[in-house]
């Protein structure tokens, strides 16, 4: 790891002021990706501004038909919290598959969404549950938030404060792990929200997380696994690496979507 400076921000304004003063600073949340990247010397922020102590980024609550989760909430909390389990059990279940127990004790939802790793899990839930991402500057629909692999709509000095998910009529997550890293190789979140059926896929898209309109459309005619498994995914839109070719991933999207739909019931 290159030399850096650690700073624990005390408020959103404090964090914003710090990053404004140092263009090479970065926000630090759980650090489970950022610190690992820094250890490999693939990132060299001059300063790490720790956001996890900000009170504005904490809390889990149900507000009307939505579940609202503070950005600094750790994966382990999401996985075990009674409010989350009651409102969106599939989201708690998803959180319980991220990394491993020790990683879940540090990593945060906001950190994961801001990083937008193409193999991360939360982006699929955000897309399928019509999430609204509230930041220090405004708010985004999930579909506008994720703009490409490791790319989001966030400005450099913008901080995710909270995430609100629509509580779905039904939902399920099917995760297929990369056998080495255990990140998602291809995972599908299926949900039925007020706007209609949603199928969101992570781990496979060559532009990051994506929804599958053809599957969603098919589901409007009946919530059955067969409705989605027959939809062909274009391998051209898939990632390809030694753990899974584009063709294999395209196949997996259909298989796993079918399983997620069946699991959601």
């Amino acid at each position: 790891m290159y030399n850096t400076t650690y700073y624990a921000a005390t408020s959103l304004a404090d964090a914003a002021a710090k990053i404004a003063a140092d263009g090479d600073a970065k926000f630090l949340s759980g650090g489970q990706t950022l610190l690992a990247t820094m250890k490999q010397r693939l990132a060299a922020p001059t300063m790490l501004i720790d956001l996890t102590k900000l009170p504005e980024l904490k809390g889990i609550s149900v507000e009307g038909d939505r579940l609202v989760i503070g950005a600094a909430t750790k994966h382990a909390q999401v996985a075990s919290d009674a409010t989350v389990k009651g409102a969106i059990p599939s989201l708690a279940g998803l959180a319980a598959t991220i990394g491993d127990p020790a990683v879940r004790n540090m990593g945060t939802m906001g950190g994961s969404l801001a990083n937008n790793d193409p193999a991360a899990d939360y982006p699929a839930a955000a897309m399928a549950l019509d999430a609204i991402i509230t930041t220090s500057k405004g708010e985004y629909k999930a579909t506008d938030f994720f703009t490409g692999i490791f790319e989001t709509a966030l400005d450099e000095d913008e901080i995710i404060v909270k995430i609100s998910y629509e509580i779905p009529k039904k939902a399920a997550y099917e995760k297929f792990r990369n056998p080495a890293s255990r990140y998602s190789l291809c995972s599908v979140f299926a949900a039925e929200v007020s706007g209609g059926p949603r199928i969101a896929v992570t781990g496979s898209g060559n532009e990051g997380v994506f929804r599958v309109p053809a599957m969603e459309e098919a589901l409007t005619r009946g919530w059955t696994a067969d409705a989605v498994t027959s939809v062909k995914i274009d391998p051209e839109t898939m990632l390809s690496d030694m753990h899974g070719s584009a063709e294999y991933r395209a196949h997996l999207v259909a298989v796993l979507a079918g399983r997620a739909v069946a699991k959601a019931g």
Binding site: F176, S181, M242, H243, G244, Y248, R259
Partner: protein
Amino acid sequence: MSAQGIGARVARKEDKRFITGAGQYTDDVYERQMSAAVFVRSPHAHAKITSVDTSAALEMPGVIDVILGQDIQDAGIGNLICGWGIQSKDGTPMKMAPYNVMDPAVVRYVGQPVAMVIAETRAEAVDAAEAVVVEYEEQPALTDFGNYAAGPVVHPGTADDNLICDWQLGDEAATDAAFAGAAHVVEMDIRNNRLIPNAMEPRSAVAHYNRAEDHTTLWTTSQNPHVARLVMSAFYNVAPEHKLRVIAPDVGGGFGSKIYIYPEEIAACYAAKRVGRPVKWTADRTEAFMTDAHGRDHITKAKMAFDADHRIVGFKVDTIANLGAYMSLFSSATPTYLYATLLSGQYNIANIYANVKLVYSHTTPVDAYRGAGRPEATYVVERMMETAARQFGLSPVELRRKNFIKDFPHQTPVLMNYDPSDFHGLMDTALKTIDFDGYPARKAESERRGMLRGIGFSSYIEACGIAPSQAVGSLGAGVGLWESAEIRVNPVGTVEVLTGTHSHGQSHETTFAQIVSDRFGVPIDNVSILHGDTDKVQFGMGTYGSRSGPVGGSAIYKALDKVEAKAKALAAHLMEADAGDIEIENGELKVAGTDKKLAWHEVCLAAYTAHNLPEGMEPGLKETSFYDPSNFTFPAGTFICEVEVDPGTGVTRIVNFVAVDDFGIIINPMVVEGQVHGGLAQGIGQALLEGCVYDDEGQLLTASYMDYAMPRADDLPSFGLDHLEIRNPSNPLGVKGCGEAGAIGAPPAVINAITDAIGTNALEMPATPERVWRAIQSTQTAMAAE
């Protein structure tokens, strides 16, 4: 005999320190004024080094020195060697190219060290390593070793066709004749995937130079510290033997990768002397991936000939073995004498011929990894047997039974002379343990859930405790393969055992103490096992090839014979009896048929007070043995694996795995089971998960746990184990060795099970979900075409 003796399931003595965080591994050594070393490594698989500029690095905070390959060469510190010389079939010796500690001119694999930075802290050394400017002139790389002759050339002038050795074993003409008269011939192309050992403790070295005595102490992660000292002094000129102490303290797993002497520990010794301070180097995991000797990596064409009654009449094997960029310490022996000699498997085969081409490539050196040659042989034989059975429409059990060796000793056509085992008995027990009769019902149940179920067999035999020294010497080994033991009985009756083997997970501190307890009735807590320090143990050959029990344990047994004889003679003298009438029982020396007895500690004390010794007996109670076995040992077993394959995703789950082994006499069943579990995990890892991948430029794509799939707890089942205990006649303990069996026997059982489930024989390891899915697609395409 004692309650803690041979055969007792006792908990391990060494565990206390490990479960409380008190283990002392090399990286836990902190010396005063210790500095940290980090290596600058080649990012290219093949390049000329045109310049190295260390000036900026030397100005970095905390930097003490930067050492280059030329410095080490100028100091007269020499080339690394391969310690086993073999010949091509035309009689020419193997083509061993110079293997510099840090080659100043050319790099031949990604990760090869180019410079060594010494700084106050590791973090500072890492910073400075980045500031060393190395200019490379990139060259094309050879990674497709099956086409080795096409180039580029790894060592021009030494091996212009990249062929190290064109080696053979067996009678080709007789084998060809057997094929000519055969009723059936089964042919297969088989690839044994390249593996990266991944002991959980990365390699590490701490070197301390004592100026007053011109003496170097090296703590290092070694399976054989004495061999390390010998080679470093005799061949590499690091320091004379009596001026070099090598300590291998607690070592966190080896699996072969810590047998070899690597450039880093040699450079550390040089650096400690040069900077006048202790130097610590510890690999990070990516360095471990790039520089620990890799394993396996064979391409094989095999064919087996059968008569009309499906008895094997001939077996012919052509293998290309990739040794990487340089010849590591035992790299020549692994794909030859440890491979082709096991191609007879458990079967009566009159004619076998093997040709092995050992080749260079621009990849990390390849050497012995758990099993070393024997997994590759077993994979060829057992894939072949299963495939042949399918082609003949026979049950794989029946085909094996038809060909099992029944009479022992059995001389194979490939050098080995098998000691007794019971191959039918192993198969019987395995079938019973897995409830083979219930398999059809289990398969039907899987199918109801839409899953494909398959069952696969593997009946392996292997050779452990490589020996005797004279024989291995005649085959080219540069060392003898005996083992030493020294038994020091203290005046109070406690016992210290010094062994030349090294325990890095094998549980010697317990099982060797059990051998002593068995003999004298002393509790194992009164026995200490000392190993891994060249200042304490005079000499020994270390631990690999499942040799510690059969060879190291037997050396202890032989030394105990001498201690026992002396103790009995003394006891007889003290009790005015005949030595032949003394019996040792429950920690007492008794005169048979009388009530006369002395406690063990009383006799020990008497040996040291020396007030009343028999005429001519020297005081003290300490004996030594150097034991050289008369033969290899031959553990064997049958493994059966049951898998469920998800046809939608290609994911394989092992639902049932049974291993029934004959390891000879078992010293501690708990420890033996643990060794089998671990071996099975590595074998299953090879079959399902692990595979080292280089791209065409020689970049290592699997250089971290992000990309190299290690077996994790949820990849594996609980295992069903059983044993037959058939005494080995060639060593006094009757043991055969158990460390590698799991890794040797498991891969074909897994692949045979998957191919049974999906209905095709063509499947490469590792059988990743995508490979299995594609194999399923290919069978469906084939069916559709019919």
